[in-house]
């Protein structure tokens, strides 16, 4: 990994290590914002990267936006200080859209349009500690493309190699409806991480991995027993976690309190309208991951 000290001197990207010209604002190779390098250098310590993974339309942007908003509002005694205005963009985008009762737009596959959040987080309990967290909001399609053909998006591989913790979002509502798609995507994603670590048969991946069962308001039983839900509805994922990942926990989460559906004459689509938000289980997975760091 390129350390903050090396990166600051050579204007190298902290994610991929590429050297950039003075004055560059995004990395010439992976398009990560180079403002991160300058902000990290100012802290004089390397940040810890937590990656949010999940397939397209699972709700990564909404989850991350609300998580960051809760942290900045001192939820659970956390204190979060965004480093740079770019860190606030995602949170603002999500909150302002949800306040207007619309979901935020899709995240594009082009890495230059991803949001990056760099936060300094103070955790009071169990023991006071500061954590510098870097959390990119990647497009689900880019993740799918990288998992299916490694090195399609090198920035994803670089990020996952540097990750101190992972939040894997899985669509619990689809799984509860009998769809196998969430299970297969999650298995592909974890199998990619497993092969990236090149662990031997008897070694397991140590990186803290929180499996976040999203849209749990559609299947409330998820909140009572997330592990049981996963074992029953996401059995392939459950088995892989048992076999290959030593530090896994399951959580249920929900952001939308009630959903309306709208359409208009001549429209092909029914648009879901988030009528109000009722956050449940948003902070817990993050709390668990930071406890492991």
């Amino acid at each position: 990994m390129t350390t903050y000290a090396e990166a600051a001197v050579e204007n190298s990207c902290l994610i991929c290590g590429a050297r950039n010209l003075v004055g560059a604002m995004v990395c010439c190779d992976c398009q990560a914002p180079l403002a991160i390098v300058h902000d990290v250098a100012a802290q004089e310590r390397d940040p810890q990267i937590v990656t949010i993974l999940g397939e397209s339309n699972v709700g990564k942007t909404v989850y991350l936006g609300f998580l960051l908003d809760m942290l900045t509002q001192r939820a659970a005694d956390y204190e979060a200080i965004p480093k740079g205005a770019y860190s606030v963009d995602l949170q603002q985008n999500v909150i302002s859209h949800m306040a207007r009762r619309t979901f935020p737009p899709k995240t594009a596959m082009e890495a230059n349009s991803w949001y990056w959040a760099y936060y300094q987080i103070y955790q009071r309990k169990p023991a006071p500690k500061w954590i510098d967290l870097l959390m990119p909001d990647m497009a689900g399609e880019s993740l799918a493309a990288e998992v299916s053909t490694p090195n399609t998006f090198k920035v994803i591989r670089s990020l996952l190699k540097l990750s101190a913790g992972t939040l894997l979002l899985v669509d619990a509502a689809m799984a509860a409806n009998g769809s196998t798609q969430p299970d297969f995507f999650a298995v592909k994603m974890l199998s990619y991480i497993d092969s990236m670590h090149q662990a031997k048969r008897d070694e397991r991946v140590q990186t803290p991995t929180a499996i976040v069962l999203c849209k749990a308001d559609h299947c409330p039983e998820c909140f009572d027993h997330p592990r049981r839900f996963a074992q029953a509805n996401l059995n392939r994922l459950w088995n892989l976690c048992e076999n290959r990942f030593s530090n896994v926990e399951f959580f249920a989460t929900s952001v939308v309190g009630s959903l309306g559906y709208a359409t208009a004459p001549g429209e092909d689509y029914v648009t879901p309208i988030p009528l109000h938000t009722a956050l449940q289980g948003v902070l817990e997975p993050f709390q668990w991951v930071t406890d492991q760091l």
Binding site: L21, V26, K106, E110, N151
Partner: protein, 312 residues
């Protein structure tokens, strides 16, 4: 035709496609490609990159591919194709073009448009990209002119509509090669409106020939200007062009020439310190580089004499 510039000998584009593919263009005259006399049909691999929901996945990906596409070509297409909100214009009739030399040796020409609203209903339009992959020999049949191939794709999509179902194996596409009508002037596409516009065309050609990376903002009819710039280049140079028009600047697309309708703060941020030049059409064109100067002088002379590229 050899390796020399072919401004004079280039068969003119036909009125139908040339006009119909212009980004935010004038209305298309009657008569599509299908009405034109064919000299030959080139069979080439095709692919569609867009966002659909299927049992195998969700969102932007290659949904239709000819069997001839190699795995490395699929990766390159996925890396360089536009996804959500990538067209400069957010309107339903926006059109863009992407043309690039692939690492495999083939040349990719893509027609980008909007195909209805984004299917997850999260706002915005669904970006639809229909592309063909041409071998060097096939590309030469079109005088290595991607704008002409883009026009054929525009015509195909407008006649058949976008392909929005997953088709794991789609047949190769037959592209009609137009019968050239030599020496009849510049046909359906308008010559440069002014000396200043002509200077910008030569500046674009200069950038493409010298390998400089240029983002040109404020271009109103990008495909018309691009076609003129292409016609000012040697066939050899045309084979290696990486150009886009009507698509937002994205470094990951690795384009050499990007034509934008207007300049924006995001583009400025992305190109800062990246060895990419940003120019605005409203300003005077920069002087040609020494390597291009003799050719630029010849073009100027032709323009002054109202020959080939000159105003009529």
């Amino acid at each position: 035709m050899g390796d020399r510039p072919v401004v004079v000998a280039e068969p003119p584009p036909l009125p139908g496609p040339a006009a119909s593919h212009a980004v935010q263009a004038e209305p298309a005259p009657a008569g599509g490609v299908a009405d034109r006399p064919l000299r030959d049909v080139i069979q080439c691999d095709q692919a569609v990159f867009t966002s659909v929901h299927s049992q195998m996945g969700e969102g932007y990906r290659l949904i239709a591919i000819s069997p001839g596409l190699r795995p490395d070509e699929k990766v390159e297409i996925t890396q360089r194709s536009p996804s959500h909100d990538s067209l400069c214009d957010s309107g339903p009739h926006a059109v863009g073009m992407l043309a690039y030399a692939m690492a495999s040796g083939r040349y990719c020409v893509a027609y980008c448009s909007h195909a209805g609203r984004e299917h997850t209903a999260r706002g915005g339009q669904r970006v639809y990209t229909h592309m063909v992959l041409l071998t060097p020999a096939d590309f030469t049949a079109f005088q290595n002119n991607p704008v002409r191939i883009h026009a054929l794709l525009a015509d195909l999509v407008s006649r058949q509509g976008p392909m929005l179902k997953v088709v794991p194996r789609v047949e190769r596409l037959g592209l009609p090669v137009m019968k050239p009508s030599w020496g009849k002037g510049c046909g359906g596409f308008r010559p440069p409106a002014s000396q200043a516009e002509a200077e910008w065309i030569w500046s674009m050609a200069d950038a493409l020939q010298s390998g400089r990376r240029l983002v040109l903002a404020g271009v109103r009819e990008p495909l018309r200007l691009l076609e003129w710039a292409v016609l000012c280049l040697k066939l050899r140079v045309r084979r290696g062009m990486d150009v886009s028009a009507g698509l937002k600047y994205a470094p990951g697309r690795r384009m050499q020439l990007v034509l934008l309708p207007k300049e924006d703060a995001q583009t400025q941020r992305l190109i800062a310190g990246q060895d990419v030049e940003l120019r605005r059409v409203g300003q005077p064109a920069p002087p040609p580089l020494p390597g291009f100067l003799p050719w630029a002088n010849l073009l100027r002379a032709w323009y002054a004499q109202r020959e080939v590229i000159g105003p009529r």
